[in-house]
Subunit: 147 residues, 2 copies
DNA sequence: TCGAAAATGTTGAATGTTCAAGAATTGGGA
DNA sequence: TCCCAATTCTTGAACATTCAACATTTTCGA
């Protein structure tokens, strides 16, 4: 037998594990940066999506920021309390709730963008421009292939 | 001005976001496979680490399976209830708790390995052998560079 | 040797997430 | 037209995670 069918593969050889590990590390760094403003990563994502000034339905938002519906609803509740975003009913489809960013939200988002940009810059520096570009490309392809 | 300093970058151009998205998708697929056995991904990782038959301290385990200490403690509590693993005090350092896998745990782990392997095979098929290898390499480097 | 600080793991309260069910609205076929 | 199924979002209970504080053991310098 040249190869056993299920060799005792270490965890670190699984793609799923490497992704989890990398995601955890990068996310942690980003979290640390954003904590200056006391905001979780997901809220930054939400603000960023809403930054186009358009109204986005809860469903679309949930999809975009990688949260499921109930979780998003409760996070939006907090953000509304903080006057970062507000809800409006969609006139054309009254089942829908459209979310908008407030001026306060815009100002915060700008500051958060800077913090995030400085993190990306830091990664580029340590990891290299080329590798980063290549990694992004491969990740995009993987996401397409997987969904 | 050739370039604005903070262009309104879409979420999908951030490395952190791509990682989160890819991780979510792959993890979901794996979760779906493992749900046949009613086991969360983290428990599979724990079993896999313990599969070498050695005792592993809670701290080392937590590091290896990407969980923080209290979360691991409670997950191990459940696994002990299910007779998948057991605790022993470390004779050399009595602060430490060493974890071991049971026969039941080993049998389960074997089945889980098959399920996980079939997922990896499925990815390889859709995504390509070469791209997968390259992605793994880049992720490993990123993890090194980032920590 | 002694005692303070560090290391290791667990616990309980606060917090957050998820699942299942529910309310409101829309769409489309009988 | 009318009614039933599908869509969209929210809610409440069950569940899981996190933070801070604790108990135990070890380490190491005075």
């Amino acid at each position: 037998m040249a190869k056993s069918p299920h060799p005792n593969t270490p965890l670190t050889e699984h793609l799923a594990y490497l992704l989890a590990q990398a995601n955890r590390e990068i996310n942690r760094q980003l979290e640390t940066r954003l904590s200056t403003e006391g905001v979780p990563v997901e809220q930054w994502r939400i603000l960023k999506v809403l930054s186009d000034g358009e109204g986005h339905s809860m469903g679309d938002l949930a999809e975009a920021v990688l949260l499921n519906h109930p979780t998003l609803t409760k996070m939006i509740d907090r953000m509304v309390s903080d006057s970062l975003v507000y809800r409006r009913q969609d006139a054309h489809d009254r089942r829908k709730v459209l979310m908008f960013i407030s001026d306060r939200g815009k100002a915060l988002c700008k500051r958060l963008n800077s913090l995030a940009a400085s993190q990306e810059a830091h990664i580029l520096e340590n990891y290299g421009d080329k590798a980063t570009g290549e990694l992004k490309r491969l990740l995009e392809n993987l996401i397409d292939a997987a969904s």
